[in-house]
C-alpha cells in the first residue's frame, strides 16, 4: 500500500531518529548507561548478602520492638527552629527499639548498634522521623564506603567468617572505620535500652522563624542513670535480654529521655558522620520524650513505616551529609521488599516476656 520513495524513507528515518534520541536521554536519566551510579537497591543487596535474606523483615535492624509515647517540648527549641514540634506542647510519638544487623533472631548479647527510631507528629500533621544509634559516630562517611564495608565483612560461605584479607584491605583504606571499631570496643556499653544515649548520627539544619540556619546534631539522653554492662559476659546473656528488659521496665513506669540539640560552630564538619564535634559546643535541652508502651511488631504501628531521616517538618532540613539521601533511599527499598513478602511479623513474637507487651 505504501509507496516508499527516497524522501519518504528519509522522513521515516528522521522519525526513528527523534524516537531514538528521546529514548537515549531517558536511558541516561535512568542511569542505565555508564557511568555507574550507586543505587538504593545496591545498598540493600549488600545488606542481604551480608546477613542473608529474611523475608518480611527489615534489611537492617531486623530485630525490633514497637513503642509509643509522647514528646513534651519546653519551648527552648523554638529559638532554633520554626518547626511546630518545638512550640510548647505535647506531640504523639511512635517508634522502635532495635539492634543492628539484618538477622532477626540474632542474640542481643553482641557488640552491635542499639537504636531508637522515632516518628513525632506535630499538631498540623507534619512528621519528624529519625533513626538514632547509641554511638555518636558512624563507621563510614559515604554510601559507597558503607557498601564496601558490608562487602568486605560479608561472611565467607565456607568458613562462616569474613575473609581477613578483604577486611584488612578495607580497613587500610578506611581509617575512620578502624577508629569507630576501636571506639566501640573501648567505650562502656550500657545494660539496657533505658539507660542508653541515642544520637542523630548525621548533622541537620534547623531554620528559625527569622530564616537563620543553625547546623545541629541531637541526642536523646536518658533520665535512667547509666550503668555499664560487663562486656565479657555479653555472650552469656539470654538471647532477648535487652528487649525483655525494656518491656519489663515499661510495664512498671514510662521511660524518659531529654532531647539535647548540639549547635555546630563554623568549621565543624556537617558532611562527615565519622567525626564528633568538640565537646564544648552549645547544648540546648528542648524537651522530654516519654515512652510508656511497648508492642511487638505484629501489634504495633512501627513495622510498616520507615524511620526515614529525611521525613522532616518545615523548619528542619537535611545537611550536606551524603549518608542522608542514601539512608532515605535504602529504607524505602527495604520497605518495598519486605512489604511484598510473607514473613514472620516479629522476631519477638514467640518470646515469653514479649507476650506481656501485647495489648
Amino acid at each position: 500500500m505504501t509507496r516508499l520513495t527516497l524522501p519518504v524513507a528519509l522522513r521515516l528515518l528522521a522519525i526513528g531518529g527523534v524516537l531514538l534520541v528521546l529514548s537515549a536521554v531517558f536511558a541516561i536519566a535512568a542511569g542505565w548507561l555508564p557511568p555507574h551510579r550507586l543505587r538504593a537497591a545496591t545498598i540493600v543487596d549488600a545488606l542481604e548478602a551480608h546477613d542473608g535474606r529474611h523475608p518480611g523483615f527489615r534489611r537492617a535492624h531486623a530485630k525490633g520492638l514497637c513503642i509509643e509515647g509522647s514528646f513534651s517540648s519546653n519551648g527552648n527549641g523554638a529559638l532554633l527552629s520554626k518547626a511546630g514540634i518545638f512550640a510548647k506542647s505535647d506531640s504523639p510519638v511512635i517508634g522502635r527499639f532495635s539492634t543492628g544487623g539484618g538477622q532477626p533472631y540474632a542474640a542481643d548479647g553482641r557488640l552491635a548498634f542499639r537504636s531508637l527510631a522515632l516518628s513525632l507528629t506535630q499538631a498540623d500533621g507534619e512528621q519528624w522521623r529519625m533513626a538514632l544509634d547509641d554511638t555518636p559516630i558512624f563507621p563510614v562517611a559515604t554510601p559507597q564506603a558503607f557498601v564496601d564495608f558490608q562487602r568486605a565483612t560479608t561472611p565467607d560461605p565456607k568458613t562462616g567468617k569474613p575473609d581477613p584479607a578483604l577486611v584488612d584491605t578495607y580497613m587500610a583504606e578506611h581509617p575512620e572505620t578502624r577508629a569507630f571499631v576501636r571506639w566501640q570496643q573501648d567505650t562502656p556499653l550500657s545494660t539496657s535500652f533505658a539507660n542508653e544515649t541515642f544520637y542523630s548520627i548525621n548533622a541537620f539544619r534547623f531554620i528559625d522563624d527569622t530564616g537563620k540556619t543553625w547546623m545541629v546534631r541531637w541526642s536523646f539522653e536518658p533520665e535512667t542513670p547509666f550503668e555499664a554492662i560487663d562486656k565479657a559476659t555479653l555472650g552469656a546473656r539470654p538471647a532477648n535480654f535487652l528487649f525483655d528488659d525494656v518491656i519489663a521496665r515499661l510495664t512498671r513506669n514510662p521511660l524518659r529521655w531529654h532531647l539535647i540539640v548540639t549547635i555546630a560552630e563554623p568549621g565543624d564538619p556537617t558532611d562527615d558522620a565519622t567525626t564528633v564535634w568538640p565537646a564544648n559546643r552549645n547544648r540546648v535541652d528542648v524537651g522530654t520524650l516519654a515512652i510508656d508502651r511497648a508492642l511487638t511488631e505484629e501489634n504495633g504501628d512501627c513495622r510498616s513505616i520507615t524511620f526515614d531521616p529525611l521525613i522532616l517538618p518545615s523548619g528542619i532540613a537535611p545537611s550536606d551529609d551524603p549518608l542522608l539521601p542514601a539512608r532515605s533511599g535504602a529504607y524505602a527499598s527495604s520497605l518495598a521488599r519486605r512489604d511484598g513478602e510473607h514473613g514472620k511479623p516479629s522476631a519477638l513474637a514467640d518470646d515469653p516476656e514479649a507476650r506481656r507487651a501485647r495489648p
Binding site: M1, T2, R3, T5, P7, V8, R11, L12, A14, I15, V18, L19, L22, S23, V25, F26, A29, A30, G31, R37, L38, R39, A40, I43, G84, D124, G125, E126, Q127, P143, D301, R303, S304, I305, T306, D308, L310, I311, P313, S314, P318, D320, P322, L324, P325, A326, S328, G329, A330, A332, L335, A336, R337, R338, D339, G340
Partner: protein
C-alpha cells in the same frame, strides 16, 4: 482561518504542549531519582511530588475541555488499524495521566510517607498504611510509568508520521501556530 472542526481549541492545544513538557520532565525526574542515592535524589523527589499533583490538576482541566469540545475527525482515508491505534493510545494516555499521580499519592500514603508538597503544605493520605499495598502500588507506579513512556514514544512517532509522511493535517490540529490544515492529496508521497 481554520474551521473549528479541524483543530483542537487553543486552550486545549496550549494545555497539550504544557502537559507534554511536564509529563516528559516527570518521567525523567522519576527514573533519575530512583537511580541514585546522591543528593540529587532528595532534590528530584521534592520536585516529583508537587509536579505530579500539578499534572493531575491539569489532566482534570484537560478532560473537561476534551469532553466539552469533540476532537477533530481523523482523515477519512486513515486505515482502520491506525484509527483504532490512535483511539486506544489516546484513551491509555488519559487513563495514565490520572492513574500515575493518584497511584503515586496512594503509594506514599500506604507506605506511611507524608505527601509534603512545599513548605508546610501536606496532602491527606488517600490509602491506609498497609505494607503489601505499598509494595504493589510502588511496582504499579514503576510499570505504568514505563508504559506511559512507551505510549508517548508511539504517540510522538505517529504524530510525526502524520506531519512528515502523510501530511494530512492531523499534526496541525494540535500545533500552536496558525497552521492551516492541509487536505490530504495524492502528492503526499504516501498513497493510500
Amino acid at each position: 482561518m481554520t474551521s473549528p472542526a479541524t483543530r483542537f481549541p487553543l486552550a486545549f492545544r496550549l494545555l497539550h504542549w504544557l502537559m507534554a513538557i511536564c509529563i516528559l520532565a516527570m518521567l525523567f525526574i522519576g527514573v533519575g531519582m530512583v537511580s541514585t542515592v546522591s543528593e540529587m535524589r532528595t532534590w528530584l523527589i521534592d520536585l516529583h511530588k508537587p509536579l505530579g499533583i500539578l499534572i493531575l490538576c491539569l489532566a482534570a482541566i484537560r478532560l473537561c475541555i476534551r469532553l466539552a469540545y469533540p476532537a477533530p475527525a481523523l482523515p477519512a482515508d486513515l486505515p482502520i488499524p491506525q484509527r483504532m491505534a490512535a483511539h486506544l493510545s489516546h484513551l491509555l494516555l488519559y487513563v495514565l495521566m490520572f492513574a500515575l499521580p493518584i497511584i503515586g499519592w496512594a503509594m506514599l500514603s500506604a507506605g506511611g510517607y507524608p505527601v509534603q508538597l512545599f513548605g508546610t503544605f501536606v496532602l491527606p493520605p488517600i490509602a491506609p498504611i498497609d505494607g503489601p499495598l505499598f509494595t504493589f502500588l510502588r511496582q504499579a507506579h514503576t510499570v505504568l510509568a514505563m508504559t506511559l513512556f512507551a505510549i508517548i514514544l508511539a504517540h510522538l512517532g505517529a504524530a510525526l508520521f502524520h506531519a512528515w509522511v502523510r501530511r494530512d493535517g492531523v499534526w496541525q490540529a494540535m500545533t500552536l501556530g496558525h497552521g492551516q490544515r492541509r487536505l490530504p492529496t495524492s502528492s503526499t508521497g504516501y498513497a493510500p
